[in-house]
Amino acid sequence: MIKTRVNICGVEFKNPVIAASGTFGFGREYSDFFPLSKLGGISTKGLTLEKREGNKGIRIYETTGGLLNSIGLQNPGIDGFIREELPYLEKQDTVIIANVGGSTIEEYVKAVERLNETSIHMIELNISCPNVKEGGMAFGIKAETAYEVVSQVKKVCKKPLIVKLSPNAENIVHMAESCVKAGADGLSLVNTFSGMAIDIRLRKPVFDNIIAGLSGPCIKPIALRMVYEVSKAVNVPIIGIGGIMNYEDALEFIMAGAWAVQVGSGNFINPYISLEIIEGIESFMLEEGIEGLDQIRGVV
């Protein structure tokens, strides 16, 4: 009997494939394709305390093997989420991870406090958002800044707390260690890479914000390396993210030390991608006589 289930910080996932934040909305669009209960879990679109409209101008730009996005946390706000999306998600029999963003520590803390009282299973703290108080530099760049926000959030957080790391961190291993010291129960990585594109005819950046976030298979080798390094350095569960497009990719992350994976941009080009990955992992385990994920987790 093959067991793809995995327990992360006390939360039981029926399989290790989770929809990545910002690529799955609140699940509704995908439920046209398949029952969401098939997924290990869903990480919601990044939520902020207040509703946000997101960025102006071009929001999506294709690159070789990936895409740059500058959505800018368009979301209904925590209250809108609780009112309009959560009741629907609750019924789906899958793990609900609330992905939380913010521009100040207070904003993060308040958002988490509101979520404490809801049925979500886990919080994923997105520390890649620009920190308005520190002039736009993301919380996720310097280990000390991250320590600050994570420890403040941890003080109030009543749900298992996953911190989502940015690959733009100065040192991904120090960052991970710092977040764990600050109280993170688990880590997920990576978020998008800071990237850029220029419209040479207009002689202007493609994005109003100049810099946008790179995702997709193009980033996979770097993301995998980071997951590998972090998994050797910390003792909390890790969720691997970055360019996962098939079961082989997912298994690479698991062998590098990930307890579960998140699939992001891949959902856009194939809404069934997570199901195919789940099936692929199962067949691989069957073929290779692997009974549980723990037998291959971190073997590399």
């Binding site: 910002g22 690529t23 799955f24 909305g25 509704r28 669009e29 995908y30 046209d32 394709f33 679109k45 409209e53 997101g54 102006k56 071009i58 929001r59 999506i60 730009y61 294709e62 690159t63 070789t64 093997g65 990936g66 895409l67 996005n69 959505i71 368009q74 997709g216 298979p217 497009m245 941009s265 959902n267 856009f268 080009i269 194939n270 809404p271 069934y272």
Partner: protein, 244 residues
């Protein structure tokens, strides 16, 4: 909905410079309306990474037609498909035109904006005036003539019809309902000429998913951010040009 389906190219013909009409076999129950679109992927690997949104141009028994202009890498690769090649597509997607309208109706199309309009024209129960503007070469004219009450053509080069823009000769006052698709400035002009009337316009934006998940295609509307792929691509004039 099914995910991406693999089908086969029946024909793919350049009907004017850089303008192709592609027919594909579609042996599935077809439930699409005019103004809806498909995400098309005419390549087997991950470059281009994203599929491309293309409107339904026409529907026949077991066949879908697309009309497209070669603009960049994706449409270039599409143009290289030959009979028997395979193609993946997802759809029909989005909210199409409201065909349940009454009164005097006009369609105003600019350039490749003509793509979703033939199927619309065929689907409207009343006879419709069709205005189409081109840069130089006109296409699909015969097909339009078959179904339209009257056809008005303009070309910027003057090679056919009125020399100039289609909005120069568009008689807004004659109509109660106007459907338009084309470059944004053209649609804006139509809207300006039509204040007070029902104007439906098909919008474009870069898309990653095409089914509402990425928020990449959102535009500002009167009622907040709306996704072109889900709440659109057809919007009313008021929704889009609310700032005026």
């Amino acid at each position: 909905m099914k995910g991406y389906r693999r089908t086969t190219v029946k024909s793919n013909v350049e009907i004017a410079t850089n303008i192709y009409e592609m027919k594909i076999s579609y042996p599935y129950a077809f439930l699409g309306c005019p103004g809806q679109f498909y995400m098309l992927k005419g390549w087997k690997a991950m470059d281009p990474f994203l599929a491309r949104p293309i409107s339904i141009a026409d529907v026949e028994e077991n066949t879908l037609s697309f009309l497209y202009e070669v603009r960049g890498k994706g449409t270039y690769l599409m143009s290289k498909l030959r009979e028997g090649d395979s193609l993946e597509l997802l759809g029909p997607l989005g909210k199409g035109f409201d065909t349940n309208v009454k009164g005097n109706i006009a369609i105003v199309a600019g350039g490749i904006g003509i793509a979703p309009m033939i199927y619309l024209l065929k689907s409207l129960n009343s006879r419709v005036d069709f205005y189409c503007g081109f840069r130089d070469q006109a296409y699909y004219i015969d097909k339009i003539k078959e179904y339209a009450k009257d056809i008005f053509i303009s070309t910027e080069s003057g090679s056919l019809g009125h020399k100039g823009f289609i909005t120069d000769i568009f008689k807004a006052e004659k109509y109660n309902v106007v459907f338009t698709c084309g470059p944004l400035p053209m649609m804006k002009k139509v809207w300006d000429l039509c204040k007070g009337k029902k104007v439906y316009m098909s919008m474009e934006n870069r898309m990653a998913c095409g089914f509402g998940a990425c928020l990449g295609c959102s535009i500002q509307t009167k009622d907040g951010m709306k996704r072109v792929c889900k709440e659109g691509p057809v919007f009313s004039g008021e929704e889009v040009f609310f700032c005026d």
